[in-house]
């Protein structure tokens, strides 16, 4: 039940007015009905600046109900300023329960990562998207890109990938790797690392993408095919952390951040997903080594 104490008086539940929430929900329904298709919506002014997750936040505000448990992460961490501010805003306008535990959350707003813990059917993941248009790399005109999507004309994006391979022997796109959704629309998965791309494929949870500045909503509904664009002889690869492990929890099957000590210059790696790391760490210290043995099931992109 919502925490009445935390709620600031004078605001509608979840900040936005009911009409706005209704409109956004309608757009979400359309986005779910046409996986990967960018649905335009009237992005509203919010008490945070555009470019700081207003698209994702509007989706969260339109979806959140009094019974929800919300988690907000930024690059895998719950404690970064962007995540903290958004969580506070949610708390002060709704009073809903918040959590850092991925498994306990019903609604997760994220910036640039998908949690390592595999999400379930009843959970929804909301992405903050800076640039929703995957064809922008090759075509500056919005009129043209919409036409290209309508006709499934993706040859120019393919040429871009081809030239990348010719020049560098592999596709150099690190984050924001273009994917084909449900065999129809090419979609920008927001700047998640390649590591997270396989987690979108046939995911049990609903994935929603919101771009506030660009005024677009799109979605990958549960159990939808999501295939990274790749050539028959140049397969898609995720980042390799061969021989590296998390310095805190020892994980070898999660996306790792490299940390460099300012004084000694020593390098170490830790899990990018902080909540996942803490959970494993706790499990290890409670039950001794071996308790946190990884099956590789937690991550879609382990191999």
């Amino acid at each position: 039940m919502p925490d009445k104490q935390a709620v600031r008086p004078g605001y509608n539940f979840a900040f936005l007015d009911e009409q706005t929430k209704k409109e956004i929900r309608r757009r979400i329904l359309k986005a779910v009905a046409v996986p990967g298709y960018q649905v335009p919506f009237a992005s509203r002014e919010l008490p945070i600046a555009q470019g700081w997750g207003t698209g994702g936040l509007q989706l969260t505000l339109a979806l959140v109900g009094p019974g929800d448990v919300v988690k907000v992460i930024d690059q895998g961490s719950d404690d970064v300023v962007n995540a903290v501010n958004i969580r506070r805003l949610l708390l002060q306008t709704t009073g809903v329960k918040t959590t850092e535990d991925t498994g306990a959350a019903t609604l997760i707003q994220t910036r640039h990562r998908i949690p390592e813990e595999r999400l379930r059917e009843e959970q929804a993941l909301v992405f903050q998207v800076p640039y929703p248009e995957p064809l922008r790399r090759v075509e500056p005109s919005e009129v043209k890109t919409r036409e290209m999507h309508a006709e499934a004309d993706y040859s120019r994006l393919w040429v871009f990938l081809y030239e990348d391979i010719v020049r560098w022997r592999e596709i150099t796109i690190g984050a924001q790797y273009p994917v084909l959704v449900n065999g129809r629309y090419v979609m920008d998965p927001s700047p998640i690392p390649r590591w997270d791309i396989p987690k979108l494929h046939m995911a049990a949870n609903l994935n929603l993408f919101g771009a506030g500045r660009e005024k677009r909503i799109y979605a990958v509904p549960p159990y939808t095919r999501v295939e990274p664009l790749a050539f028959e002889d140049h397969q898609f690869r995720v980042e390799s952390f061969d021989g590296k492990h998390c310095a805190v929890c020892g994980s070898t099957a999660s996306f790792l951040d490299e940390l460099i000590d300012d004084h000694t210059g020593a390098r170490r790696h830790t899990c990018s997903d902080v909540a996942y790391c803490a959970k494993r760490h706790q499990l290890l210290s409670e039950n001794g080594p071996g308790a946190g043995r990884q099956t590789g099931n937690e991550t879609g992109g382990g191999a």
């Binding site: 040859s155 393919w158 081809y162």
Partner: protein, 300 residues
């Protein structure tokens, strides 16, 4: 104008010609193709044309770029379209390659749904499919047909990728094959066409047009703007490719020399109408229409 209902036009059945065409059905049938720019009025077509001496409608000021163009093109055959600037030659091929919408008219392509569908009335997706799988186009200016900021190989790849050919190794194999055939040095495959000479750009464009081995290729003033020796090589190349691959082509040119060298049949156009059509030899040897006579007699 009467006499423009030319239906048996280009069935130039020269006996004994060794080629790849299947007798009987034409590969491309065009009927009454019309393109008018501007507000149209009912008088546009009757009040323009060779008799009126203009393609601008005196009633509404619309430009009748071409009107009532009909012809048959058989597999392996080359059709020339000749006429002065502004006679509607380029508009004709642009309409057939779907670069420009038509005002009226029909076209049927034997390789697409057994020739039962009017391709000019198809949806944009279908037209894109036809364009990428069954047609090639070489424009007058290389920058119209090439992306100058993509490599030569990338340009050829675009056509292959559009036809769902997703294997880098095989794309490069095919691109080398085409560049070899069009005499572009292979070392330049990964260079930008922006840095190529005009003749080489034109050859890359031809390679791109041929990437999917389309049965039908449009050539729009391909040699205009090239110097004479390069012109000769490009024409030679086109003749070779035609002989080897048995393509059907529509060659647009204002240069009767090019028409004579390449084509089997010819349409002569003036102010948006076909004024004479038939075998190229016949037209050049015994021109009937005063305009054709003028054209032939002014040939240097």
């Amino acid at each position: 104008m009467d006499g423009l209902e030319i239906t048996d036009v280009s069935s130039c059945d020269l006996s004994g010609r060794q080629d790849h065409r299947v007798p009987g059905e034409p590969m491309l049938r065009v009927r009454g193709l019309t393109r008018i720019y501007g507000r149209e009025c009912p008088d546009c077509v009757p009040r323009t044309g060779p008799e009126a001496g203009s393609n601008i409608c005196p009633g509404c000021g619309s430009v009748v770029a071409c009107a009532g163009v009909s012809f048959d093109l058989y597999a392996g055959e080359i059709l020339g379209v000749v006429g002065e600037s502004g006679s509607g030659k380029s508009t004709l091929v642009q309409c057939l390659y779907f670069d420009s919408a038509v005002t009226a008219g029909e076209a049927y392509l034997r390789n697409y749904r057994e020739g039962a569908v009017n391709i000019l009335g198809s949806s944009a997706q279908e037209q894109r499919h036809i364009r990428h799988h069954l047609m090639g186009m070489v424009y007058q200016k290389p920058h119209q047909g090439l992306r100058l900021d993509c490599t030569a190989g990338g340009n050829i790849a675009e056509k292959l990728l559009a036809a769902e050919f997703f294997h880098v190794g095989r794309i490069r194999e095919r691109a080398s094959e085409l560049l070899l055939r069009t005499e572009v040095p292979l070392e330049r495959m990964d260079h930008l066409p922006r840095h190529f000479s005009g003749g080489m750009q034109q050859r890359v464009q031809i390679a791109k047009a041929l990437a999917n081995s389309p049965p039908l290729v449009f050539l729009d003033e391909v040699t205009t703007g090239l110097d004479v020796s390069v012109q000769a090589r490009v024409l030679d190349l086109i003749r070779h490719l035609h002989r080897e691959l048995g393509l059907a082509m529509v060659v647009v040119s204002h240069d009767l020399g090019v028409i004579r060298l390449l084509t089997d049949c010819t349409l002569v156009m003036k102010t948006g109408r076909v004024v004479e059509a038939g075998l190229t030899d016949q037209i050049l040897g015994d021109p009937q229409h005063p305009y054709t006579q003028l054209l032939v007699s002014s040939l240097l």
